[in-house]
Amino acid sequence: MNSVEYYSPTSLKEALNLLAAYGEEASILNGGTDLIVRMREGQSKPKVIVDIKKIDELHKIEIEDNYVFIGACVHLNDLGKHQYIIEKYPFLAKAALSIGSNQVRNRATCIGNICNASPLADTATPLLSLNADVHIYSENGLRTVPLNQFFVFVRKTILKQDEIVTGISFEDDDSILGVFYKMSRRKEVDLSTVCSTVIKSNKGYFVSYGAVAPTPVRLYKTESFLNENTLSQETIKEACMIASQEVSPISDIRATEKYRREIVEVTLQNSLLEWL
């Protein structure tokens, strides 16, 4: 019989000890909306589950010292309905509220969405474009890694077995304007066929896409082009061409490669048109 040992530590230290003790056999349980599904399908077979939801410090959204910090256990609904986030980063709120159903968003977390490292993670593109940092805690203390270096491949991150992501942060910048797009077969409760966040700030343009490569990606070539040129109908058109070539989508059950490239063009164009 399959049996699973379940632990619910109340401190980070305790959680780390459990992860260290059980190594590969342990899985972190946060909202569970990915893990439980994967366990049912036999894709994950943990022997030990370390539920981090009882660690109080992981539940906060902080806005301090010019930084916004989202704790590991902040639910998508809490993020998407957070007043400060709605006002200053509506594209991030929109991304958070675009995932799953209301019920799922009451359980699922933004950090879980990131750590799951799906190529189409909806909260990844706003955070990539925000140049967010991932806060990783281990026995050696805290380290931060830029989100664009966090993803390795489909469902693979740089995270080691004995590490816990405590949250994600980004600079609180008044000049940021952003647009989030999610193209999906159905309006509610669906995975992205393509998702994107385009940000314009004092520092330039930041363009990120999901479901167009093995991981959510920044489109650096497209960004450079935009940063080097003045926005116009012509440059938007050219930027869209560059972006559609910069991505590397595949054909799957949800859409063909061709359609994904077309949607990259349309969504980038419509994002940039906001500022023309």
Binding site: R185, R186, K187, E188, I253, E262, V266
Partner: protein, 769 residues
Amino acid sequence: MKYVGKSVKRVDGIKKVTGSLKYVDDIKLSKMLYAAVKRSPYAHANIVNINIERAKALKGVKDIITGDLFTKRAGLYLEDKNFLAVGKARYNGEAVAAVCAETEEIAQEAVNLIEVEYEVLPAVTNAKDGMKKNAPLVHPDLGDYKCAPVFFPEPGTNISNHYKQRKGDAPKAFEEAYYVIENTFYVPHVQHVPIEPHTAIAQMDADGCLTVWSSCQSPYAVRQSLSVAFDIPLNKLRVISPAVGGGFGSKAGTTLEGIIIPLAMRLRGRPIKLTYTREDEFQNAYVRQGLHSKIKTAVNKEGKITAVQNEFIWDGGAYTEYGVNIAKAAGYASTGPYDIDNVWTDSYCVYTNHPVGGPYRGFGMCEIHFCIEQNLDIVAEEIGLTPYEIRKINGMKPGGTTGTGELVTQSGLMECLEQVSADIKINEKSKLSSSKKVRGKGIACGWKSPSMPNDAGSSAIIKLNEDGTAHLLVSAQDIGQGSDTVMTQIAAEVLSISPDKITIRTGDTDCTPYEWQTVASRITYSAGRAVYEACQDAKSQLLELSQIKLGIYERDLKLKDGYVVSKIYPDKKIAIADLALGLTFDDGSGIHGPIIGRGSFIPPNIRNADKHTGLGEHPVAYWTYGVQGVEVEVDIETGETKVLKVASCFDVGKVINPQLIEGQVEGAILQGMGTALLEELMLKDGKVMNPSFVDYKIPTSGDIPEMIIKFVENPEETGPFGARGVAEPAMVPTAPAIANAIYDATGIRLNTMPMTAEKILSAIKAKEI
């Protein structure tokens, strides 16, 4: 009328909304065992060897069966199926062995330990290929199968039924036509996705009595099929369907019951439960058949259709015990609701190595109308008529004849067409909403008759209680459509007692009387009529006793609010409660005894159509006609379609419960939208590629458009209070109306569904070039 025609609250409402209603999977019996199924990973393969030794050795495993233990075939119309594969597997997912064990987990683990050796065979994965001469045969023994005489299998081929309709002289009409046009369409497989998956429990007593608890639409039809398959007499086989969490046709026949019954027969006394997962539901229950169709139309100068030639090729899947009748029903209805003098139709049900096709809301009508109604718009445009005009010219009116040659005496189609055209403003162009989004309107008509054996019967029993309340017993199943409430309303109306004084009991073949099946949109009509008759029977007994008691002629008595009352002197009355157990005299003696009303009904005079021509004077009970109009908005940059508004009007004879019928139509529209825009069972070499809600999408509440729902009431004389069925018909025009609206908006016609954003965008881009 006091109760009929009123929005009486659902009698099952409180139990359903509080979650207290017990479904089959909620039933826990002592010493219950759980089953799990070993399934074929191949679409078509000989079973060379099955090794169950390792599985058998697992602790907690009680029994394992394979197909060779029970080789008798079963089926509703054509006995072509085994519940466990015998000799070979005919679809990816077919059951080849079943385990029962102390827990579901042990059963599943044991299944993984069963080793099956296969010899893979070439598979039929396209019905058109399956009709070719050299195609692999899915059922080489088709010629030996038992079959109802109205179906025509062609042994030595994959064709399990070939229905022909030959009305008038179509070849001549085509020669003389002013204009001839031919179009082809394809409708892929979809699944019913009831909220409750299939589930059943079987238990055989020591004396050989078998009880089956099953989430099924048709306890009696299930009992009959199982009785034949397992040689159990009907008096020793009890089927109970306590509640059904949606069916849409998928729970009409037998599916998983036959897998657990052999186990129950071998382990007497032990109840055995099997509940399907959502993945099972998509692969191993029933699916809607695919359809390849070709329609050729001849038109005269005035836009009158003078002839049609139809070819319907149904992808029936591995077993077509039920699907053969879909091919026949589609043949009967092949003209659509139009009056056409010359018809040449061939409708083929073809075996493939795909999941098993079966009844699905519409029973073939949604599929053929997707083709017929688009074809009609194409014809109209070619000859310079509007979609409204061509329907006005050709739509069925009283005095016309159907494809089977039956004279039509009742049709509200024209009234529906006028109503919907007005509600959707079909003759006014949609306004542009932006340069990137275009809008368009479309209409479609539809018709459907109940597809059932000519003698499909219903019965009902009403028992009066000594306090003036009553129990109504039927085996019509409330599968969400509201039949418990409608049956109760009909009884309440006839007996003139309020619905809350009537308790309805359904779904137990030992206790509730015969009902052929809860399918074919026939329950309000047929079971409703049986309830009406049962209550009339009880009423006549009440009047007979009242005549004695009150000394007033029966003809001068009526039922009113729980009393038998004189029509002339209203103060002369006697309570129904006082007569429920019979009439008691002053000396304490009594007569008659408890009042039980019984009602039976078979639609009158339905006769088989001619074998060669498919023609018949009265081969179906009636036709339900209706029209829907749709307005859509298409994003020309992404191809996304949004349904903005749907107007619907059906001739239902009589609305028994306005709120429930509206709910039926709303649900039908949403389901029609789902198939039009989102749903497709994606099949690759016979394997279902999207067997879950992750990649099989149905509409959510977020997709609901504005809906204008209206009805016309031209009574059906054989129905209760004039009612006829509408639950399925209401879905029939939705998908083609959406397709026609998309064409109006974009000039794009895909000839297939679902009309996904990607397909539309690709067509828009192709058109630009």
